[in-house]
């Protein structure tokens, strides 16, 4: 058995949470609430020191210290000096959300975040998921001397097109379109089956990890 007090605490909390399997109970609730509190505190501390202090307060202090050549407004790519006052202000405005009467001020901060991410996601999905994925689907359907690979290529293309047509809303799924979408459903079902299998794998792995912790770190059985 471990002689580390911390490991005992961790092991007990692990067991508290597992007790939920028997039924919802005070031990589980205790652990759950403790977890929420600790993680909220931890996120504040982490983001304060690693981002607000490092990327905002540090560079701002340096910019206005008078030691940097060019002064606080000598801005160049990657070194924004005095201009970092703006994100600092927008960050502070976010906290107006805690006060009903002035919470509209936080919209300026949200506008920045939403604008940046809408732009990044739009182009990221357009290039990485739309164009690149369509491009990768343009493959020879017959590869001389490789009947197996050719068959797979044909099957893949049929599956892709049929599944795409399944998500087509401008026409009722009847006739030829109905037939294609039916094939699409088969492919989708196989992919959900694969998803099911891999999700099972993931969850079981997490359980194995907890048992390895209890057996190894706590009970020292291995």
């Amino acid at each position: 058995m471990s002689h580390d007090f911390g490991v005992w605490v961790g092991a007990l909390l692990t067991l508290f949470i597992f007790s939920f399997l028997y039924k919802d109970n005070p031990l589980y609730k205790f652990a759950e609430h403790l977890f929420v509190g600790v993680s909220a505190g931890y996120y504040i501390v982490l983001n304060y020191w690693t981002v607000i202090d490092t990327n905002l307060i540090g560079p701002l202090a340096a910019a206005f210290s008078g030691k940097l050549p060019g002064g606080p407004w000598h801005v160049q790519q990657g070194d924004y000096r005095g201009l970092l006052v703006i994100p600092g202000l927008l960050g502070a405005l976010l906290f107006t959300r805690l006060f009903r009467r002035i919470d509209w001020l936080s919209r300026f901060s949200l506008a920045l975040i939403i604008g940046v991410y809408a732009g990044l996601k739009t182009t990221g999905f357009a290039q990485g998921d739309l164009v690149a994925q369509v491009q990768a689907s343009l493959q020879p359907l017959w590869i001389p001397g490789h009947p197996g690979a050719s068959l797979n290529a044909i099957l893949f293309t049929i599956g892709l097109l049929a599944s795409l047509l399944f998500f087509f809303y401008s026409r009722e799924h009847r006739g030829a379109l109905g037939g294609a979408t039916r094939i699409g459903v088969w492919f989708l079902m196989i992919s959900f089956g694969a998803g099911y299998g891999y999700t099972v794998m993931s969850r079981v792995s997490l359980l194995i990890g907890r048992f390895q912790y209890l057996l190894g770190d706590w009970l020292r059985l291995r």
């Binding site: 343009l138 998500f167 809303y169 401008s170």
Partner: protein, 392 residues
């Protein structure tokens, strides 16, 4: 000369040369100096903001035969052919290219390459230049991305415009919507409530918005049938919206008195606390219909399982693909991925949502055509389309 070699090697080590170079002085006496590299060429790196220059040279003849006289090359640059020279990069033997990523844009540079070996350092005879890095106005490798993006945006805007001017484009009714209505009908017959779960995410997840839009129509149906509805919500903002949505549905249905203020309840953003509360409702109130529409994570299977056990009709919809299998096997009907958004667009009749849906539909047909044409071209050995779409 000896001092120069040491200085050069020291500079090379500082700038991260392969370790072999650093060990050179030990055998400096026995090996002759390498023959020089030649033919140094430069070119501005295309499609960037003028921040880099590509360099390319022909290997030293000693490097080509691998006789151990060359261990690497050293690149230097200067503002004029006369110097002063400053180190840019060092690379190992057998390498004949590098990129200088530390240039100022629109500034001329002259480059030279030296072959380094245990026997000494031999600069090439001539330097190359002036090399100037310039900003580009368009990244040509992204032409296909631009084409698809512009086409899609135009389609979406066109159909939005069409829908707003009253010519609403046709969108088919999804079977899942009929399934919801049927389920509410059965709950009414059995005199039991309907449970509606709008996902477990906050309002910034677009699926939550879709879930709340669908809630509006579901609440209108329950108001019409006079069936109680229960809506547990995980986050405060979606909670207030859900309250508003349900109340106005009862108001519009002409039965404001039938609205129960307790029908929409705020639970907790904590995943398992939320599940415990919802499964509690399932087991205690025994709703005859469960509707799950929105963003779900690992808890989806716990909801679906408990719901299945109670024998209720279950209808689900989510765009979180990993959770779909659990809904598909345990629910009577599942809206798959995009279908969730399609259902919300259909039910709301909102021109802006329908515009997006129709634009995507037309682009899908275009993609089907591109894939068919592309595959045929590839089979016939023509690679033009594939190369054009290549973005990297």
């Amino acid at each position: 000369m000896g001092a120069c070699v040491v200085a050069v090697l020291a500079a090379a080590v500082l700038s991260g040369v392969p370790p072999a170079l650093a060990a050179a002085p030990a055998v400096a006496d026995s090996v002759p100096a390498p023959q020089p590299a030649s033919g140094l060429l430069f070119s501005d790196v295309p499609n960037d903001a003028g921040r880099a220059i590509d360099l390319h040279w022909a290997l030293s003849p000693d490097d080509s035969v691998r006789n151990g006289r060359v261990v690497g090359y050293r690149l230097e640059r200067a503002p004029s052919p006369a110097g002063p020279w400053a180190p840019v990069d060092s690379v190992g033997a057998g390498t004949s290219t590098t990129t200088d990523g530390s240039v100022e844009r629109n500034t001329p540079y002259f480059y030279r390459v030296s072959a380094c070996g245990p026997g000494g350092v031999t600069p090439s005879g001539a330097c190359a230049g002036p090399a100037i890095a310039r900003s580009s106005w368009f990244n040509t490798t992204r032409a296909s991305v631009l084409a698809f993006t512009v086409l899609f945006f135009l389609l979406v805007l066109y159909y939005m415009f069409l829908a707003q001017t009253g010519r609403k484009p046709f969108v088919r009714r999804l079977a899942g919507i009929d399934a919801i209505e049927e389920a509410i009908g059965r709950a009414t017959e059995m005199g039991r409530p309907v449970l509606y779960v709008p996902g477990i995410q906050d309002i910034d997840d677009i699926q939550t918005v879709a879930g709340l839009v669908i809630l509006e129509s579901v609440a209108r149906m329950t108001a019409r049938y006079g069936t109680p509805i229960r809506v547990p919500v995980a986050y405060p903002i979606p909670f207030t919206i859900a309250q508003e949505v349900v109340r106005s549905a009862y108001l519009q249905g002409g039965v404001p008195d039938a609205y129960d203020p307790n029908s929409v309840s705020f639970v907790s953003p904590e995943q398992f606390a939320y599940v415990a509360a919802v499964t509690g409702i399932m087991l205690r109130d025994r709703p005859a219909a469960h509707v799950f529409m929105g963003s779900f994570y690992g808890e989806s299977l716990m909801l679906a399982e408990t719901g299945f056990e109670t024998g209720a009709i279950q209808i689900a919809g989510t765009a979180n693909v990993p959770q779909l299998p659990f809904f598909v096997v345990a629910c009577d009907y599942t809206l798959i991925g995009e279908e969730l958004f399609a259902a919300s667009a259909y039910l709301s009749g909102d021109a802006r949502l329908i515009g997006g849906l129709k634009g995507a539909d037309v682009l899908k047909v275009a993609i089907v055509a591109v894939v068919i044409v592309g595959c045929v071209l590839e089979t016939l050995g023509h690679h033009g389309l594939t190369v054009w779409m290549q973005t990297q």
